[in-house]
């Protein structure tokens, strides 16, 4: 049982950015969830979902600072009276970014660590670890270093940790984002069977959510607002319509990026038992102005294929051409952009303006006034404020900034890895349509099948180690 009453929270302010002035993230927020309740917090990025989750597991304000007021009770324990460590067996939090919660050097040890803290008997621990690994499809990877896992596998590992601990209260922050359709369904089944309290945060209402939650709430101006499922579904459906209307082909520019008879491999170094990863690509192509989707289960090789397509990794076997001409890695990098799943890899400068003009500064043909104008135009289009500090922006804002950076780079093709994760459909559609309007060929990687179907003209599916063009639905 989780009982939050009159919770208010304000972060300490470090930035000079115009949109980052001191404000209450949560303001008199009250929410009560009984045992057996599954509550969905459905709200756009930057509304305070992650902050609320982290307050509930005591990561905030202990490790961030900030001003907090109100009262929180978890299973009748006052949260402000106990240390975070005392909550291990009471509440388990799964972060939006699994990297930040992985501590150990093998999957097996990752699950064992909290169980050791709870002084679980080694034999019982063994059973729980084996069961959790098997349930989340990680048995073969039990001795693998978490750094060798794909994004989805990491998230499954955290879910395996959650299952092994068996705490009554679960907090899931955008937990469905990296999971493929099978594991989404599995998680929903696990949630249905759970007798304790579950709070899930999401920026998008996935079709699988229908009928799943006992309550849906939103965060509006820092407070809690109840929503009906019908309201949420109408909102989602309206967002989905936006890009379907804009789906079109740019026939004027017909540059084609093709990959033929290709093989991509990479072994898992730390276990000899696991079969080395191999991906076969008999035929793959995209034309400028076209939007295609690349879908497949966790760890199937979507990101690996993307790295080859944009010239970051060499192609071992087969041919990669643009308009029939073989392309070297350095030329590919100038033609194909890759928006990483994690926007922070691309962002490193102190302001949005610096980020947007960084690459243009190396182009001697662009003078300062042109650079400034381009940055302003881009900021307007992507709803960004030039003075803002990217490090202090929300995940959704950073994702938009990442899009804006590539928008200015004028690439012929752009690969967008899990764009829909952590942002609203509306924002995802907007970013894709902006690239399409520029005549870019857009490859969208997503685990959200309805989203992928709604944006893509064609879909490539990775299954059984092979990339195939999927027949139209």
């Amino acid at each position: 049982m989780i009982n939050i009453s009159e919770l208010s929270f304000t972060y300490p302010v470090y930035s000079r950015g115009a949109s980052q002035k001191k404000k209450e993230v949560l303001s008199s927020f009250s929410l009560s969830a009984e045992d057996g309740e599954r509550v969905l917090i459905y709200a756009p990025p930057d509304s305070g979902k992650t902050t609320l989750m982290k307050i509930l597991c005591k990561a905030i304000p202990s490790y961030t600072g900030g001003t907090i007021n109100g009262r929180i009770e978890v299973d009748r324990t006052d949260l402000f009276d106990v240390s975070g460590g005392a909550l291990t067996g009471i509440i388990t939090y799964v972060s939006q970014n699994p990297q930040e919660q992985l501590l150990m050097n093998t999957c097996c040890d990752e699950i064992a660590f909290p169980l050791e803290s709870l002084c679980i008997d080694p034999d019982e621990m063994d059973k729980r670890i084996e069961s959790a690994l098997s349930h989340w499809g990680l048995s073969e990877l039990s001795e693998v270093h978490p750094q060798e896992l794909s994004g989805g596998e990491r998230k499954r590992l955290l879910l395996a940790v959650t299952e092994a601990i068996g705490a009554p209260n679960w907090l899931f922050d955008e937990v469905f984002d990296d999971l493929d359709i099978n594991y989404k369904q599995q998680l929903l089944n696990v949630m249905k069977a759970h007798k304790g309290t579950i709070i899930v945060s999401a920026s998008r209402f996935l079709p699988e959510f229908a009928g799943m939650f006992t309550r849906i709430v939103s965060i509006a101006d820092g407070g809690c607002r109840n929503l009906s499922e019908k309201e949420v579904m109408n909102l989602t459906s309206n967002q989905m319509k936006v890009l379907q209307y804009q789906r079109k082909m740019d026939n004027e520019s017909s540059s084609v990026l093709s990959l033929r008879s290709a093989i991509v491999t990479h072994p898992r170094k730390s276990v000899s038992s696991a079969v080395p990863f191999t991906l076969s690509v008999p035929s793959f192509s995209i034309t400028r102005g076209e939007i295609i989707a690349l879908v497949g289960p966790n760890g199937s090789g979507k990101s690996t294929l993307s790295r080859v397509l944009c010239g970051l990794d060499p192609l071992c076997e087969g041919s990669l051409t643009v308009d029939g001409r073989p392309m070297g890695q350095s030329i590919l990098k100038q033609n194909v952009g890759y928006m990483f799943q994690n926007p922070d890899y691309s962002i490193f400068l102190p302001t949005v303006y610096d980020e947007l003009t960084y690459s243009l500064k190396n182009d001697t043909s662009v003078v300062k006034s042109e650079r400034d104008a381009a940055a302003q135009m881009c900021a307007d289009v992507f709803d960004l404020v030039l003075d803002d500090n990217p490090s202090l922006m929300s995940y959704g804002h950073r994702k938009r900034l990442q899009g804006a950076i590539y928008y200015l780079l004028q690439r012929s093709f752009i690969i967008i890895d899990e764009l829909d994760a952590g942002i609203t459909y509306q924002t995802a559609y907007k970013i894709i349509s902006l690239f399409q309007e520029k005549g870019c060929g857009v490859i969208v990687i997503s685990h959200d099948a309805p989203f992928a179907d709604s944006v893509a003209q064609r879909t490539y599916e990775i299954s059984g180690g092979e990339v195939r063009l999927r027949a139209n639905r």
Binding site: G85, L103, D109, S117, C119, H145, V271, S346, D363
Partner: protein
Amino acid sequence: MISSTYVAGKGLIYHFDARSKLLLTLVLCIEVFLPVSPTGIYLLSLISFLIALYATGMKQALSPLKTILPLIIMMVLFTPFTYTDAPAAITAGNVQLATTEALYHLNLLIARFIAITYMATLFVWTTTMSDIMLTFQWYGLPYSGALVITLAFRFIPFIADSFKMISDAHSLRRVSSDTKGRRRSRIFDILPTISSALVFALKSIPNLAATLEHRGYSTGHRRTRYRTLRTKGPLFTHFLICVIIATSFYLLFSL
């Protein structure tokens, strides 16, 4: 990408007890610097390399050499200046580049360096991180110390991986592909890439602390143990083999 110190492979070395393996590694590393014959040192380097080759394959076995190559080059460049009084072995016209004594010491230095590199590398390649930690604890390291090392081995690959991803992201943001500009921009890109990786690493500190607390870790708090060190055969036999190898090497090659 550095993803883990452990490398799956084959050979008896994987079945050798981690405690005796650590002891043997340390003793042999010390013996390399004792007065032993060059033949012994060359042989030890060669055997270490061959074990690595058999256990992990050519590509993996060569990777430590690649890592230490810059240091070997430095040795090749600077050792000849230290030994100039012996007869010339390599000359360019009238200029003496290296004496016989310089070459003798250079070979010995490189062999020693390769031997200790491969012996230490073999230990971490063929022992799982959990066994390494349990070994350290068996030798008296407290749990909190072992945890710090575990976290280091978790986060070094994470930061190295992040550095690579950041570097890749930066390379995709370049506006031109001309070779000259690329070389220059590569040099200029190092600073932002390093600063990004640093920001990434710094950002992970509060997350790490919060997760440790969330997973119930606190100093002095009692914990059960999931892992225990398991040895094939009696531990005494493993230590005996270790002593026999170290003693035989010293007796055979000591000067």
